[in-house]
Point group: C2
Chain length 382, copies 2
C-alpha cells in the first residue's frame, strides 16, 4: 500500500467501472486500504471492457492498482456476514449502484448508520438519490449530453462533440472523494459518519463555470467555439507552418509581447484589437492576421520565441507525446504497475503531491477477482 | 456562511481567476470561512473578466460567493503584519501564483511551516513546483493542449477542439481540494500541516483514463472520435427526426432492448453487431442503420420509448435547458446569490450532498474588493 494521509483507514468498495473506482483509486493513492467487494464469477464489469493486454483489461488495471479483491454474493447469508464483518471494521463504504439497490439489499443508509455509526457512506450515481430522475440509469455519455457540456464543446455549426474522456464519471469520482475526506475530518469531532450523495449530472452543472455566467448575463445559451476561449483573446489554437500551436495571451501586456514576437506592431495598434473585449469580438479576424505570420515558421520555432518573450504557449500533444513529455515524467505522472501476466504497465500517477509523503514511481498490483479472499478472511478471524 | 463539515476552519485565500478560487469555493460550500487577500486597487484579475452585469463580473461572482475580501500589499510591512496575523489563525492557505512568487515574498513553504506548523499550504499552478517547466506560465488552454485531452476531443480529421469548460483549471481545483481535506484529517493525528503541490498539467494526465490504456495496449496514440465512446457501442449521439439524441446501450442486454424499441431485430442478429467489440469496429455502419430508423420519430418520442424499455438515453441540452431541467432544480444545483447591484444571480450549486447538513438554496454575498477590511481587522484585535 501507498503511505499517505489516509493510511490506516479501510475502504469497502462496492463500485464498478469508472466513477466509483476512480474515487477509491484516489483514496488508495492517499494511503487508504481498499477492499473491492465484487460479484462472484464476473467481478467488476470493467474487467470485461477493452482494451486488453494478454486477455487482461488494461482499462480495469489502470484504475484498480493497489486494491484488494474479494468476491461476495450480497444476497447469500454467509457472504453477507463476511460483508458485515468488513463494514464493522471499515471507515468508508463507496458504491455506485443505481439508487435503491442498497435498500433492496437492506444496506440503505438508515440501516448502515444505525448499525455502524462511524461508517462514512458515499454513493456516486447518475442522477443521485433524490429528484424525479433518481431511478433512471445514466452513463457518462448521457450526463455529458444532459448537463450542457456537449453544447459548448465542438465547432460552431458542426456535429455534436463528446469530451474525449469520461468527465461525467471522473468529476463525480472527484467530488465524492472531496466529500469523503471532509466527512473524515468532521468525524474526528462528532464520532459519526455521514452519507455523501453525488450525482454525475450535478457534477456536470458544477463544472460549466463561465458558461453559466454568460447565460446569466445575456439570457442566451452559449454555443461551441471550436478551440478558443469564450471571453479571453488570443487564447486558442492557431495554425503554424507544420501544425497547430496554443497561444494564450491573457492580457494586454502579453498581447503586446506576442505582437512583438510576431513582428506585427500593426496588430497591436489596430483599433479592432486594442482591448480584450474587442479582440474577442473580432477573434476571427485576429486569428487570420496572426496565422498570416505564424505560417512562416514551425510550431517549435514559435514555441522557442514565445517562451523567450514569456508568452504562454504550447503544442497540442497526442497521448503518446503527453505521456513522454520530460516534465510529465519529472512530475512522476506516469507510474508503473507490475503484473505477472501483462508485464509492467504504465498508467497515470497521482497529481496530489504532498510534502509529508513520498510519491512512489510504482503502484501496487492489480487484483485478480477474489485474489485476497483467504488473507481477508484470516484477517477477519474467520 | 454555509454550515458544513469544515465549519470553524479558516482559509486564507491568495488565489486569482479560476483554479484556486474554484478550490476555495468548494471549501466555503463545505462550511469553511474563506478570506480572500487581494491586490490593493485591482483585486482578483477575474473581477475584470466578462461577462458583466451592471459593471460587475458575473464570472467573478459565480466562483466567489460567500467569501470575505481584504486588500493587502504583501510587499508593505504593515500589510504583511496583518497577513501574518491571519496566517496565525488560519488552518489553510491556498495560492495559485507562479512557482517562486511565495518564496520572493518570504512566504515559501519552509518559512511558513517553521512559523505556523499547523498551517496546511496548497499551491495550484500550471506546471507545479518541481520539474523543468516549473517557472513557465500556463493557462487552461496551454495544459489542455499539452496534456493530451485536445488530441482525443473533436472529430476525426477536423480542426483542434477545446473542451468547452476550463477543465484544466477545474480539475486542478478539485485535486487541490482533495489534498487539503486529506491533510486536515491527517493533522488531527500529527498536529502538523503539509504542503500540497498540484499542477494543472498533472491533472490533465490524471483524467486521460482509458486513452492511456488504449495507447498502452496498442502502442498507437488514440485520436478524436466525435461524439462516440472509444470502446463501448452504441454509446454516442445519433440523429433523430428533429435533432440529436444520446443513446448509451452499454451491454448486450441493453443493445437487445434498444433493437426492440427500434423494431429492428435484423440489427440485433447482424453478425457485424453481435458483440460490443464488433459493434465498436463497425460503429459507423451501426450508426447508419440506427439513424435510418431513428429519423422517423422525434427526440422526445424516442426518449419516451427508450425510457419505457430501460435503455439509457437523453437529450443534448444547451446551458439554458440544462439549468432549467426539473431534476437539476430538484437537486438544488442552481442556487441564488443576492447582490445589491446586480440583483439575484443564479449560479451552480454544490454537488456534494451530505446527510449531516442542509444544502441551502441561496449562497452568501460576493464581496466587493476590501469589503470586510474593518470587520477582519477588528476580529484580529487591531
Amino acid at each position: 500500500m501507498t503511505d499517505g494521509p489516509l493510511s490506516g483507514l479501510l475502504v469497502v468498495d462496492l463500485t464498478r467501472v469508472l466513477a466509483g473506482p476512480y474515487c477509491t483509486m484516489v483514496l488508495a493513492d492517499l494511503g487508504a486500504r481498499v477492499i473491492k467487494v465484487e460479484t462472484p464469477g464476473t467481478g467488476d464489469d470493467s474487467r470485461h471492457i477493452g482494451p486488453f493486454i494478454a486477455d487482461k483489461s488494461a482499462y480495469f488495471m489502470s484504475i484498480n492498482r493497489g486494491k484488494e479483491s474479494i468476491a461476495l454474493d450480497l444476497k447469500a447469508d454467509g457472504d453477507r456476514a463476511i460483508f458485515e464483518d468488513l463494514l464493522a471494521r471499515a471507515d468508508i463504504l463507496v458504491e455506485n449502484y443505481r439508487p435503491g439497490v442498497m435498500e433492496k439489499l437492506n444496506y440503505g443508509w438508515d440501516v448502515l448508520h444505525a448499525r455502524f455509526p462511524r461508517l462514512i457512506y458515499a454513493a456516486a450515481s447518475g442522477f443521485g438519490h433524490t429528484g424525479p430522475y433518481r431511478t433512471r440509469a445514466a452513463y457518462d455519455m448521457v450526463v455529458q449530453g444532459m448537463g450542457g457540456i456537449m453544447s459548448i464543446t465542438g465547432h460552431p455549426g458542426g456535429p455534436p462533440t463528446r469530451v474525449g474522456t469520461s468527465v461525467g464519471d471522473i468529476t463525480a469520482g472527484l467530488f465524492a472523494t472531496i466529500g469523503i475526506n471532509a466527512a473524515l475530518y468532521h468525524r474526528e469531532t462528532t464520532g459519526l459518519g455521514m452519507k455523501i450523495d453525488v450525482a454525475m449530472l450535478d457534477c456536470q452543472i458544477a463544472i460549466l463555470e463561465n458558461a453559466i455566467a454568460r447565460y446569466a448575463a445575456t439570457g442566451v445559451a452559449p454555443g461551441p467555439l471550436g478551440a478558443r476561449h469564450p471571453s479571453i483573446t488570443p487564447f486558442a489554437a492557431y495554425q503554424a507552418q507544420d501544425g497547430w500551436i496554443i497561444i494564450a495571451a491573457g492580457n494586454n501586456g502579453l498581447f503586446e509581447k506576442l505582437c512583438g514576437v510576431l513582428g506585427r506592431p500593426d496588430i497591436f495598434t489596430d483599433p479592432d484589437f486594442i482591448t480584450n473585449d474587442l479582440r474577442t469580438t473580432n477573434a476571427d479576424r485576429l486569428a487570420h492576421e496572426m496565422e498570416f505570420t505564424l505560417r512562416h515558421d514551425t510550431v517549435s520555432q514559435w514555441m522557442e520565441k514565445l517562451d523567450a518573450a514569456g508568452v504562454p504557449n504550447g503544442p497540442i500533444n497526442d497521448v503518446q507525446q503527453a505521456l513522454n513529455d520530460p516534465h510529465v515524467r519529472a512530475r512522476n505522472m506516469v507510474v508503473t504497475v507490475d503484473d505477472p501476466v501483462t508485464g509492467p504497465l504504465e498508467i497515470a500517477g497521482n497529481p496530489i503531491k504532498l510534502s509529508a509523503f513520498e510519491d512512489p514511481a510504482t503502484r501496487g498490483a492489480v487484483p485478480d477477482l477474489d485474489e485476497q479472499r483467504a488473507a481477508i478472511l484470516e484477517w477477519l478471524g474467520r
